[in-house]
């Protein structure tokens, strides 16, 4: 039914649904969304340019701070790219430790997201329960790395810390607890009407749309497409560790929830296997400070999907160009597709459904729409533009 008038509803940048500043403009007809325009860039800090001004070692620190939730995925991706340029083989034990930390991070990220999703549908009891149990994995991460959020485990040529044999029983104990709780939550989620009424058939993304719009990660897998960088292009020790790719055919928000729950269980099994089969040996190999000229692309399956880093080196101790393509950016076109035709009340849960991480996403490219020409700017011209803006303020 049409009411004959279009209303524009701005959403953000400060809004209760997401913790990060981002703006969406919704055109609605009655209660139905007709069009959506994302306005990204509130979180743009200029990290790619900052990469060019720091040495390769300093950049590990910076890569970690692209995003606080998938920090390990970013450093893994960064170090892999540099290792490819340097032609360095990472020791087997280091590759296993990378997998263990990456999977622990996936558990933490997915349980965080499940809590947020429960919060978005107004089910705060579930949110509180999920976040209470999430502390178990945060404790494991703190035990392994010494920090709860930024782990600083990866370095070029390996990892920085050992997983000592005396802490392994503790890790296993926490994993058992998490497995028990996740199975319980899956049972609850499947039968709880509060969840089903708000998520089933909401934010539908058909498999053909998902592929066409280049969705990645759990968003794509929840549309029934089996795609995972860990399987398609194995890195670290993923080629030696057995695991299943979790998919679901529901194509809605509910199946995104189920996929993430399933991935938590898969990750738990992978960590158990990795801890059992961890080879002994060195943790890292020493690498030179300067990197020989060349280009490298590295891919990693971050908790949110496929993450791509590109590096260009000119033979000095600093990269010449650095580029990050984060999973959230890849999911934005799919997100816009999901939102059209939905009710206004479902905006928060659909937005949250792709597990958006705008800190990862806000990059910029200049494209002149009229001539379709792309521009590249150096740091000084950026500075000039920004200085001009500052004077205007």
């Amino acid at each position: 039914m049409s009411y004959g008038s279009m209303i524009k509803v701005p959403f953000g940048p400060q809004h209760p649904a997401l913790k990060e500043p981002e703006h969406f403009l919704f055109e609605i007809d009655g209660d139905i969304i007709v069009n959506v325009k994302p306005r990204i860039g509130y979180n743009h800090r200029g990290i790619e340019k900052a990469f060019e001004r720091r040495t390769y070692i300093q950049n590990i620190y910076l890569a970690e701070r692209i995003c606080g939730i998938c920090s390990d995925a970013h450093t893994t991706c960064y170090t892999q790219a540099i290792e490819e340029l340097l032609d360095v083989e990472v020791p087997p034990r280091a590759r296993y430790i990378r997998v263990i930390v990456a999977e622990l991070e996936r558990i933490h990220s997915h349980s965080l997201w499940l809590g947020i999703a429960a919060h978005e549908i107004g089910f705060d009891t579930l949110f509180m329960h999920l976040w209470r149990d999430r502390e178990a994995v945060m404790d494991v991460l703190e035990l392994v790395s010494g920090n709860r959020v930024h782990y600083a485990m990866n370095t070029i040529g390996g990892v920085r810390r050992e997983i000592a044999s005396e802490i392994i029983p503790k890790i296993i104990g926490s994993l058992d607890f998490l497995e028990k709780r996740t199975k319980y939550y899956m049972k609850v989620l499947r039968s709880e009407q509060t969840v089903l009424k708000r998520t089933v058939d909401i934010g539908v993304l058909k498999p053909e749309d998902a592929v066409e719009l280049c969705a990645v990660g759990p968003t794509l897998r929840a549309s029934g497409v089996k795609n995972d960088v860990r399987r398609d292009d194995p890195y670290a020790a993923y080629d030696e560790i057995p695991f299943n790719i979790v998919t679901d055919d529901g194509c809605d928000v509910f199946s995104r929830i189920l996929v993430r729950c399933g991935e938590i269980l898969e990750s738990i099994n992978m960590i158990r296997y990795a801890l059992d089969h961890m080879p002994s040996g060195m943790l890292r190999v020493r690498v030179p400070m300067a990197v020989k000229p060349g280009e490298a692309v590295s891919r990693v399956e971050a908790p949110r999907g496929e993450l791509i880093h590109y590096v260009k080196s000119n033979g000095s101790t600093r990269p010449e160009r650095y580029k990050v393509r984060s999973p959230t950016l890849a999911n934005i076109p799919a997100l816009c597709k999901m939102l059209i035709g939905q009710h206004v009340a479902d905006i928060p849960i659909i937005l949250a459904g792709i597990d958006p991480c705008f800190a990862c996403m806000d990059r910029l490219v200049f494209v002149d729409v009229k001539t379709n020409k792309k521009k590249a700017l150096d740091f000084e011209s950026f500075r000039k533009i920004v200085r001009k803006q500052r004077e205007l303020l």
Binding site: P13, Q14, H15, P16, K19, E20, P21, G41, Y42, N43, H44, R45, G46, I47, K49, A50, R53, Y61, L62, R65, I66, C67, G68, I69, S71, L112, G115, F127, M128, H129, W131, R132, E135, M138, R148, V149, H150, C357, A359, F379, F382, R383, I385, V386, Q389, R390, L393
Partner: protein, 147 residues
């Protein structure tokens, strides 16, 4: 202690705003509201609207684009209002200090009452910062107009 001060110190509501941070501080700030750390025992509630909030908890370095919004949100908050800078980025800009799109810490834009450094600060540290802020509110003098 008069009634106004009692009301202010017993239930400060927090508005959380990310000005361009990496999310690390956001999840730790949120974790402080969940059962293990539970700042709600101090009467603190996470609030979505600036018009209901007493404390503005800012995470992340202030980017150029978000600057105006940050000021607008601060202006929408009713007096008396306090600013809590959570994390190294909000305190000083930290690794993003010299980025072209970053102004720096929150104190370049707003008056900050309590700084909580750390990358990211643990929820315990954030709770400590909030408790210090409550102490600061307790020590403040209130004039006859209630300000």
């Amino acid at each position: 202690m008069n009634l106004l001060k009692w009301a202010r110190t017993k239930s400060p509501w927090i508005l959380h705003f990310n000005t361009g941070g990496c999310n690390g501080c956001d999840i730790e700030l949120l974790a402080a509201f969940t059962p293990r750390f539970d700042v709600e025992r101090f009467g603190i509630l996470l609030q979505g609207s600036p018009r209901h909030a007493d404390i503005l908890a800012v995470t992340g370095p202030v980017t150029l684009q978000v600057r105006e919004r940050l000021i607008r949100i601060y202006e929408q908050m009713p007096e008396p209002k306090y600013v809590l800078a959570v994390g190294s980025c909000a305190c000083s800009g930290a690794p993003f200090k010299d980025c072209y799109n970053v102004i720096g810490g929150v104190d370049k834009v707003l008056p900050v009452d309590v700084y909580v450094p750390g990358c990211p600060p643990k929820p315990e540290a954030i709770i400590d910062g909030v408790v210090k802020l409550i102490q600061k509110i307790e020590e403040e003098k209130i004039d006859e107009k209630g300000r």
